[in-house]
């Protein structure tokens, strides 16, 4: 039963020009990112570690405060919500973490862990809550006997199922999975991905799936957003992304993922890239130093975000890229 009715035209989550810099860090964590997530779809947020993906997830839940920009959930600005409204919002957005062995409270039983959100958000009465947690456990493929046990008594795959159950128990509209399968063995990873796909089909929840693994993203995402050093370089529906990625960085990522080294890449370059600090950056485009298609303008002027929706695309999903290669396209500000 799809309980997530969404008013047509309003994206479920919209991030506008979000910027965030951590104290005592010179590198900007999130740099003017604009992104939108449509209800019922899965957005895959990719990029190397440190690109800012997890920071965005934290900002959505107001675990960190942005320096500028806004986040709109169902049209309402999260930054302006009072604590009561924020509480309701937190009920609708849930997070699944990477490492289930530390994301579950070790001294709390599974029952206590699953009950906590229900109690905190005052959802239903005791009967309803008891039913709900049993139902959720069943949905993620675990038995009622798990309720009495503690996290360390389960395998990592089972622990991640419990973490997913905890996230689903409040019937959220949006599930944020932050590298949720990265620490799992490939066969467990497959099981969890299957579970997530099934949950999306059955409950119609929207998913923001953060990962550095493009193959995993290919399996599960409807839309892709690529981040590099805090900036969003490309947002695209999945099929066009994997068949003809627009941004040179996207092409580089896909190349590495296939085990092929891009033509312009040397180990010296890699070393430079790793040890680079933002103060060293002399070029306007954040990727210019390592871009195989770099042009002179890339060093001087920061590229604008261009809309490159192809005409043969049926969907109205946004497809935009931040690169001078597409300057000839019509500028269509979102």
């Amino acid at each position: 039963m799809n309980t997530h009715v969404q008013s047509a035209g309003v994206p479920l989550l919209e991030i506008r020009d979000l910027s965030l810099r951590f104290h005592r860090q010179e590198q900007v964590a999130v740099d003017r990112v604009s992104l939108s997530i449509t209800a019922g779809r899965t957005m895959g947020l990719v990029g190397a570690s440190g690109a800012g993906k997890s920071t965005i997830a934290r900002a959505i839940l107001r675990l960190v405060t942005p320096d500028s920009g806004e986040i709109l959930f169902k049209g309402k600005n999260i930054g302006l919500m009072n604590s009561q409204e924020m509480k309701t919002t937190r009920q609708r957005i849930q997070l699944v973490f990477q490492d289930p062995s530390v994301s579950l409270s070790p001294r709390r039983s599974v029952e206590q862990t699953l009950m906590e959100p229900l109690q905190h958000f005052a959802i239903g009465d005791m009967n309803h809550r008891n039913e709900k947690i049993r139902e959720i456990l069943h949905t993620v493929g675990l038995d009622e006997s798990a309720l009495r046990r503690y996290p360390h008594q389960f395998s990592s795959g089972q622990q991640q199922r419990i973490a997913i159950a905890r996230a689903l128990v409040t019937d959220p509209d949006l599930l944020i999975a932050d590298e949720a399968v990265a620490s799992l063995d490939v066969s467990i990873q497959a099981q969890i991905l299957q579970l997530i796909q099934k949950l999306q089909m059955d409950f119609g929840i929207s998913i923001l799936f953060i990962s550095h693994d493009l193959a995993v993203i290919r399996q599960i995402a409807d839309d892709i957003a690529v981040m590099y050093r805090g900036q969003l370089l490309e947002q695209s529906p999945a099929d066009p992304f994997f068949s003809h990625p627009a941004h040179p960085y996207s092409k580089t990522l896909l190349s590495f993922a296939a085990g092929k080294t891009p033509s312009n890449w040397t180990s010296d370059k890699w070393y430079l890239e790793r040890s680079r600090r933002s103060a060293d950056s002399t070029s306007a485009c954040v990727f210019a130093g390592f871009c195989p298609d770099k042009m002179a303008v890339c060093e001087q002027i920061e590229p604008a975000v261009r809309d490159i929706q192809h005409k043969n695309q049926r969907a109205l999903e946004p497809h935009c890229v931040k690169c001078h290669l597409y300057d000839a396209e019509q500028t269509n500000d979102q």
Binding site: L63, M86, R90, V102, S103, E116, Y150
Partner: protein, 279 residues
């Protein structure tokens, strides 16, 4: 978890002997409190300095009091001091250390650290004397002095642990649903410090009993009753005159109880250390 811990503890011979020693003394203390043993600690039942005999197993002291009775009563005193100081200082240290760690580098932490710093800088025995004086010889002055100063060690340890634990993802998960800080600390953070507290508790117990001995030498010890510390203090003169009864009885008991606790503490630390799970 506790089943595994118990298994590991059982297999540690030194730890088990420590446990048995402590348990034995604890039983004696219970008997004293319930009136079964040691009730004749103050009555003069014999001649002075009688040597060990059938009626007085450990002999008598300067006043003709039965040393055995006094030793038994001293067990209860040791436990009274130890338990009271341990429970109160651990509680205080956990709460204050927990708050300091959770709000680290913010004003609650600054205040608590400042208080801790001041208390740690005062020479303890001077402090104990000051409290005794201020409370006009109240029998609980000694316990109070210890509680007020012992909590700082526990607090320091707990503060460090809380600062470590709050980085872990399950705390972030609690924050992600908007759980208030205080609830998070008491529900998710502190329960993960219990294994440390258990070990720390045994250490504080030992420290409390040891401190009482020295306080007795200074005349600041127990008021209504007798303790091993008091007996040892009394014996310091007696020994020169060749009467060892007090010294041996109190000294041996003290040694055995504290040794037992130390063995138990070490074994508990090993048994609770889940990282030794080798797989």
């Amino acid at each position: 978890m506790t089943a595994n811990t118990w298994q590991r503890l059982k297999s540690d011979r030194y730890g088990m002997s420590g446990l048995i020693l402590v348990a034995g003394f604890a039983v004696v203390a219970l008997c004293v409190w319930s009136g079964l043993l040691g009730q004749g600690w103050s009555e003069v039942s014999g001649n002075r300095y009688e040597s060990a005999s059938a009626s007085h197993w450990f002999g008598t002291n300067l006043l003709g009091q039965d040393i055995l009775q006094r030793t038994l009563f001293g067990t209860a005193t040791a436990f009274e001091v130890g338990l009271l100081v341990t429970l109160c200082s651990t509680l205080l240290g956990t709460v204050l250390g927990g708050l300091a760690g959770w709000y680290s580098h913010r004003w609650p932490d600054e205040i608590i650290l400042w208080v801790k710093g001041v208390l740690d800088s005062i020479p303890f025995y001077l402090f104990a004397a000051a409290i005794a004086f201020a409370l006009q010889g109240n029998p609980w002055a000694m316990h109070l002095a210890m509680i007020i100063t012992f909590w700082t060690t526990t607090a320091r340890i707990i503060r460090g642990e809380v600062m470590r634990i709050k980085q872990l993802e399950f705390i972030e998960a609690a924050r992600a649903i908007g759980l208030p800080g205080v609830k998070t600390v008491f529900r998710h953070v502190l329960p993960n410090t219990f294994h440390i507290l258990l070990v720390q508790g045994t250490i504080v117990f030992v420290a409390a009993v040891n401190t009482e001995v020295i306080l007795s030498f200074l005349g600041l010890g127990i008021k209504n009753g007798v303790s091993w510390g008091l007996m040892l203090a009394e014996s310091s003169q007696e020994v020169l005159a060749g009467h060892f009864g007090n010294f041996i009885a109190a000294g041996t008991s003290l040694f055995l109880l504290l040794m037992g606790f130390n063995l138990l503490a070490d074994a508990l630390q090993d048994a609770l250390d889940t990282r030794r799970e080798f797989m």
